[in-house]
Symmetry: D2
Subunit: 404 residues, 4 copies
């Protein structure tokens, strides 16, 4: 029987996460590396009918004119990861994937991201509808050419500034009435991709804090077309730690007085997050998890600073000042030194594999069982990592039970 | 209706943990402080018929001739905790509790602990049986004088050296045949207290890694007399962190290559742990939790160093070196600055409250639902803190369900 | 022979630093504590004719209506330092000093500091000249009443926002022509105190980054009146570390790529520094020392965040990313947990003692030999701590040589 | 005029430091990298007649049968440093240097190091004299073949266990009488190399804490033959930090109560230091610098732990607990993450360059001006890094003055 072909359409394909996913799938498919870091490689997940690394076909949109080969090489140079031998061994895979990446429309990028765009196109869409249609056309061509069984759009582009939603975003009817307006920006770029996916019944996953499909009209659309979706903002490093440690403070009845978190890093996302508008989206999801887990709001500081020489190495220092028995003040500090794209990429692969599993199962709509992968899980108030993870384990257990 | 009177018999009463428990109960009973740091003060526990701080009557054994007042004052001076006003407000409570502390037999203390002993008695027991009987007599007098409804022996003494068990420890029959031998040390001191409690049907809780009731004959005895028991080694700081973080590494399929933990502190326990024999008991429980949670053994270093000027402030630096996706090496470090006795004491109070709840419920034998309080939970392979805690929550939920 | 009487006039007397200086002098004079933390207590300084703690008479200005007793008690409560017994033993000293503190004029405080002012006076000066004259009158009354031999004004008030200087600040002639203007703010509050001191030949020391005497006309004035002066901004914690470590990186020819420093603290200075204008003064002196020592500007981030529960405990995390041999990237991180006022106060006492020594010697003008005490040493480009300190040692050695 | 040819004879050539020196000289000579990390590249040193990287000819002794190419490749793989392109560009240089490395005699290695030895030779010396003579013969052949103007023996081998010296080590007469004994081990291996160098008037530099030339008879010999020498134990990371920070605590009159330092690393030196005897040599020099700088001995803990997965990345956590003003307890912690061989190698190059400069100048005997490079500077009580460095700067300034 022919293997299933799963299309993984990366929005922001040539970025650090997109590049690492693409190179990672290639190196795993070629048996050059093991699957360390993939949740879906854990024993509990192994009997499931998850697609293998070699079952994925990568394509995507991008606004910078480069290639997976170039961005992988640049990444290797700045960050000191990726073995040089992998790049040569997977040269053809990367070149093939690069050829499947299309220039993304520039409408709705916002100034911080637009500054990075250098992939000129003959014409640019003037309305959201035009942008969506161009994206749909690119995806449709890919699906056809590659004989894709299931197409997953995964947003791994840079973080957009917060985008205020209003009346037009409440229902599909209202939204459809607005998509052709030229007098106002109806949606940020991320949502053009989300709608393009959902209108066609494809799966949409938002690995960033950008708006994407996070508004009522998009949910309505997903229901109508039976599309799967999930988000948002991958829980990779410092926030993962927060959602692991905050439950400990809660379970011991320690009173957290303040939680200070400083993050420094130097990749391209950092350039974008150096813009205060874009940064505010990120800080918000990083900060609110603590309040939601503890049930009260301690004093808090969250900073994300762009320090170019750090490359992709995101270093976080967190200082947690808490009161214990008899009001005794104590301190926990942690320092997390992780390579950001290498933390994000496996979660992207996990999400794609699990989304395909759900598709095979006939699922539709919001995938709440994926909350443990997200900083701000869509439609879910649970931020405690282990409670989220327990839910994924239950889901997996129920699938395994059915298989038997 | 008269309030229930719960006897809390502290082995090692005048140590940091014993002193903090005694002062803590007094300050809480007088409303001078809130119950921050008590797990049993969390909303889920509030409707249960737990004894209140004022329901406890403290007594105990000790080998150093001092008092709660003196040790609290010394602790305040060295460690900078305890408000001076609490000591005056609770002076009478502390004096009363001090008068209920009896000199402990010196048999089986081991050299490191015996060096601290300065409470001379007219005669010292020569056999385990004599030691047990003297302890039982002291406790019986307390129970009678104070009209105690439920007596709990809580071991908060210094850590003993590992004690190898053999044939005599397998059954009560064998053990009883050995307790009167004078030619060999049959049990360490901690086990004299354990047997004294269990022979009388009292509750025994072991907050240290010492042997206590952790051998087959003692379990058999508890079954026979219907005694409650639990242990061992309170999970206060660095190990709590380990059992919170290791599950995260496991759930993300990170491969932990090494876990290094260095602990420094300067209280009296530190003097005892400076003896390599005694230290080895502690290092063992601190180290093995990681292996049990991860399912493999990373390289590891665990040190506990006595640094006198630190007082009760235990500082731990942990360095976790792990591999993520594509074999990328990353590092998490944490620094825990906690006041050891202030972390331990509330857990001691929680254990006593929950043991009394179980007693009221008619429970007997090993209390497995208390695993989340222990570094080396007796009769339990689960070391993941949140899985342990979920079990306690289930227990509490089932009790609440019955109440309604 | 009667002991010398040195007047120590504290601007911002009831703040953390002023309170600690006052309580520190009293406890040392009464022999309750030793002189740990005083540079002038080191062996090299002991044979010099430095004033003793009991030779100082404390007075000052303040804008908040409180007292040394109250502020010391509040400090003890929030920050957990100062033994309660010292406060009772020195109660009379503190009360006497409190009675010598006068309400400071509110002109030129700036909004962040003005918000703290609650000491109402019958009238407030409308011009700089009026403010200066009122300050001079208060000081003159103190000098007369207390028979002061040498009066030192020490600015330990909160940090002002940067104040741009212009034509009027270049010469005394120009300045005098402007001091009575009512249509513009000619000087910030700190400079009113500086001019009040220098016009009368008193000594002026600026322990803050505020303008104080740091402009040409003030230097001219000091020369005319033979006043001693020095500044600015006490080098207490993180910046001390920077000026100790940066020379190491330079001497090993390591290339510092970035130096990130995050500071958190929660005292009243923090409230003021939470105002971005005031913060910018502080960040500037903290940041530029590195560039001046290294000879090039690495990427840098400096933050100072107000986290109320930290009290006076300033915690700094610094992350230094540097290149070594063959371009190898390495990292040094440090965490400084110091009590801010307790770090600052002894330097204030040292400065006052050394200024008095210089006065006895007949010195005039800028005291360049005091650079090691300041983040931004006046009239000095040297920021390397050990080079600065070597200069102080030479000064002391030359004085000792003369004595012999 | 022909360039000067300086022979750099590495004892322990194929180890991490020897390999990095050899590769470093080659890459610098070929202009592939700059001289970051070389003290002798600082502006003050540039006008001196120092040998250039290309002026060095590398040879040496080794007990493991491998090559610079292999060890550089292994190092790159385990530690993630060295650009792959350098290894190909310098392949011939490394091969040539490898061909100049001779098998070292095994006499006096001690068990921990002997376990690593796998370079078999036809016969092994039975006495110190035989070992020395074989070493001399190897070096003489190198000097002749390569037309060396100045030969420098640099000990970069693993740390030996402490070796107690006695009567035979006090004078050359006594020593010469003992070197041919077969009934006892007269000297450790490191000293065979030292004597081989000094007997021939070559220069000897000891970058390790091993005995080397650190005994009276060796000094006498150096004087007789006019040899230059210096040592011992390169000051690379944590100890460099200690000798930078301890002077700060002293200069501020802070009282250091305890200084705890934990080091973890995973290179071959670590395997050797895992032997408690060898470790004790290292711990001693790391520990005593603090006492010598402060003038009193704080409580201290120094550990060096072998953690294989760390490779050459030595991570040190230091916790310094100190008392400031009014006895206030504060804490400084630092975390040093450095690549050990990359820190050591440039100092080795600096030492060789400066030793050659001194040779050109006609110097003889102990080079005290090199103390800043050593943990335990020979014949010098000064451990303060900046005082040591100031001495080197004075030396350099005096040479520059003569040049002009």
């Amino acid at each position: 029987m022919a293997r299933r072909r799963v299309g993984l359409w990366l929005v922001g394909a040539f970025g650090g996460v997109g590049t690492t996913i693409t190179l990672g799938l290639a190196t795993m498919a070629r048996g050059l590396v093991d699957q360390t870091g993939l949740v879906t490689d854990l024993p509990d997940f192994r009997e499931l009918s998850l697609p293998e690394p070699g079952d994925f076909v990568v394509g995507g949109h991008e606004i910078r004119r480069t290639s997976f080969q170039e961005s992988a090489e640049e990444f290797r140079r700045n960050t000191g990861v990726f073995d040089a031998s992998w790049l040569s061994a997977c040269r053809d895979d990367l070149a093939a994937a690069s050829s499947r990446v299309r220039p993304g429309p520039k409408l709705g990028l916002g100034p911080a991201i637009a500054r990075l765009a250098d992939w000129e196109t003959e014409s640019e869409p003037a309305t959201a509808r035009q942008a969506i249609d161009r994206i749909k056309a690119d995806i449709a061509a890919f699906v056809k050419a590659e004989k894709i069984d299931h197409l997953i759009v995964l947003n791994v582009a840079s973080t957009e500034a917060p985008f205020g939603i209003g009346e037009p975003h409440q229902t599909m009817a209202a939204l459809n009435g607005s998509l052709s307006r030229t007098d106002a920006l109806i949606l940020p770029a991320s949502s053009h991709y989300a709608l393009a996916a959902l209108e066609e019944g494809h799966t949409y996953l938002n690995f960033t804090p950008s708006l994407g499909a996070s508004f009522p009209a998009a949910w309505e659309l997903a229901e109508t077309t039976g599309s799967l979706f999930g988000g948002k903002d991958g829980k990779t490093g410092e926030t993962l730690m927060k959602t692991v440690l905050a439950p400990m403070f809660a379970a011991r009845n320690f009173k957290v007085m303040s939680w200070v978190g400083h993050n420094i890093f130097g990749n391209r996302d950092g350039v974008v997050l150096d813009d205060p508008n874009n940064k505010s989206s990120k800080v918000e999801t990083k900060d609110k998890v603590i309040t939601e887990i503890l049930g009260y709001k301690p004093a808090s500081v969250v900073s994300i600073e762009y320090v170019p020489d750090m490359g992709d190495w995101k270093t976080a220092w967190d200082h947690i000042h808490f009161k214990g028995f008899l009001g005794t003040k104590m301190v926990l500090q942690f320092i997390w030194q992780g390579c950001d794209s290498l933390l994000a990429a496996p979660l992207g692969v996990d999400l794609a594999r699990l989304a395909d599993l759900e598709k095979q199962r006939g699922g539709k709509g919001l995938m709440r069982h994926l909350s443990c992968f997200f900083k701000g899980p869509e439609g879910d108030d649970e931020n405690d990592f282990f409670k989220q993870y327990a839910r994924l384990e239950e889901y997996v257990a129920s699938l395994r039970a059915k298989t038997k």
